[in-house]
Symmetry: C2
Subunit: 289 residues, 2 copies
């Protein structure tokens, strides 16, 4: 395999390109972005060998990784479908069903498309945050369809393992349900809370007296807004589903507070505390691997 | 001032006692707790000079700091009011109006009561987590009433400064409103989310594929459940008030997702992202001081 093209040089795309160059996994790493300045930074920091504003350079590619916000991936697939491409195509989108649907435009290249999602974001964004060690000990979920070529799938899985990640294979719908719960809903809640408090007349005082708990809880509200807009809209069904469950639970807690129902509160607070400790153990074990 | 009594040897009480001993601010530091084992640990780790299960030892005190969960403070004030005490009394409760109301039982000692709240918790709890540097660069809010003795208030403010904290003076109602927004609501949301996900049929998979964003967002759901039960119930009015604002905002976000209202989403996500960055700057400046 000789030529990798990464489309979209943000945190994830930039980090993939950087690590692939460091490890010399390809003869050439080409970066594409709609922002020339981003290209200059990517060249300067050694993330890519060559930069282009134009998708037509993809005809050189053996492997293409699309690393743009989810709703931009649609448009890129349409453009790629018009080029004479013979490459393994993959993506890094946080929502998988909608990406797979839009990949169908690739037509006879669809079997070479391997849907993938590295669970390794951060509230930082952009090429300046690119970090070649970003994926070490992080998980990448690959969600092949029944049409996905096995060799292409294995190639992408191996590539992620070389970047330090642990690979899991999963059905796209299952992926979207799980990510709605663990990532998309928490982001929605953090964005909603910070937006709500910022509108408060006392917002200055509020931020002034907030401490570590608030800092951690709201860290993800500093994330890229275009990226999260796209995720909320493309994973709408699963997100609304898990949001309804949360809203019901929140209503129950509210009623328990109104009624001063200590038994309910202690039971459910203990339940949450126990589950959070269990989760911390899972994370600690994973980091040891 | 010669004798400090700390009632309740948890994370906060233990950390206060430890630092006061390290700095030799008192001739003697006595710890009271309803758990003998906690007393042994506090003696072994050098947090206290002497341990007692019995509040009557408070007659020796020049300064008493009550560091139990908020709803226990009520009972302690009632017991203290029956003892011949001549001391400055303070507390560390996360809710101030309810503590002040229950302190009125102290009667002619009420003017010696200085309500205080160090904003320096953690999801860790108990004497084993006690840390003499816990308060450095953290804020302590003191909420004196019109009856509070000036000298007592200044003494407690100075004591906190010696422990490394920054002291702010504020009205108790204002304190309870601000803390409802920055601390009590985020804790309620984190507990609710983790409780909700733990009940999900796919909870094992959910926790397995969760990453750093989820870890930070839910860290506070690992906090002490008895302590948070008490906070939710004693700051009920302010908490329900800020919860209503949040619920309204969340409903607006939900409608925008249903209607695919990109303008609303981008505006409010940008607003939250900007406010979160502003908050991060405040925190960074404070840590430089």
């Amino acid at each position: 395999m000789t030529c990798l093209v990464v489309i979209g040089l943000g945190l994830i795309g930039g980090s993939i390109a950087k690590k692939c160059r460091e490890l010399k996994l390809f003869n050439k790493v080409i970066g594409i972005d709609n922002n020339q300045d981003v290209g200059k930074i990517a060249l300067n920091c050694g993330a890519i060998d060559e930069f282009s504003l134009n998708l037509s350079i993809c005809v050189q590619a053996d492997v293409i990784i699309v690393a743009t916000p989810v709703m931009v991936i649609n448009k890129i697939f349409t453009q790629l479908s018009k080029l004479p491409i013979d490459a393994i195509i993959s993506d890094v989108g946080s929502v998988k069903q909608s990406v797979i649907t839009s990949a169908k435009v690739l037509d006879n290249q669809f079997s070479n498309f391997v849907p993938a999602h590295p669970i390794a974001g951060s509230e930082q964004s952009g090429i300046t945050a690119a970090d070649s060690n970003l994926f070490i000990n992080h998980q990448v979920i690959i969600t092949p369809t029944k049409d996905t070529d096995n060799k292409a799938c294995n190639f992408i899985a191996d590539l992620w393992r070389k970047l330090g990640a642990q690979v899991a294979i999963m059905d796209a719908k299952n992926h979207d349900q799980i990510l709605a719960a663990t990532s998309h809903l928490p982001h929605l809640l953090a964005f909603t809370l910070v937006d709500c408090l910022a509108k408060n007349d006392e917002s200055l005082q509020i931020f002034n007296y907030a401490a570590g708990g608030f800092r951690d809880f709201t860290r993800i509200a500093g994330s890229d807004s275009k990226m999260w807009h796209d995720i909320f809209l493309t994973n709408k069904e699963q997100l609304l589903n898990v949001l309804d469950g949360f809203t019901y639970n929140l209503h129950e807690f509210k009623q328990a507070i109104i009624n001063e129902d200590s038994n309910f509160l202690i039971e459910h607070l203990n339940n949450a505390q126990g589950a959070r400790k269990y989760f911390a153990e899972i994370l600690a074990q994973r980091n040891k691997q």
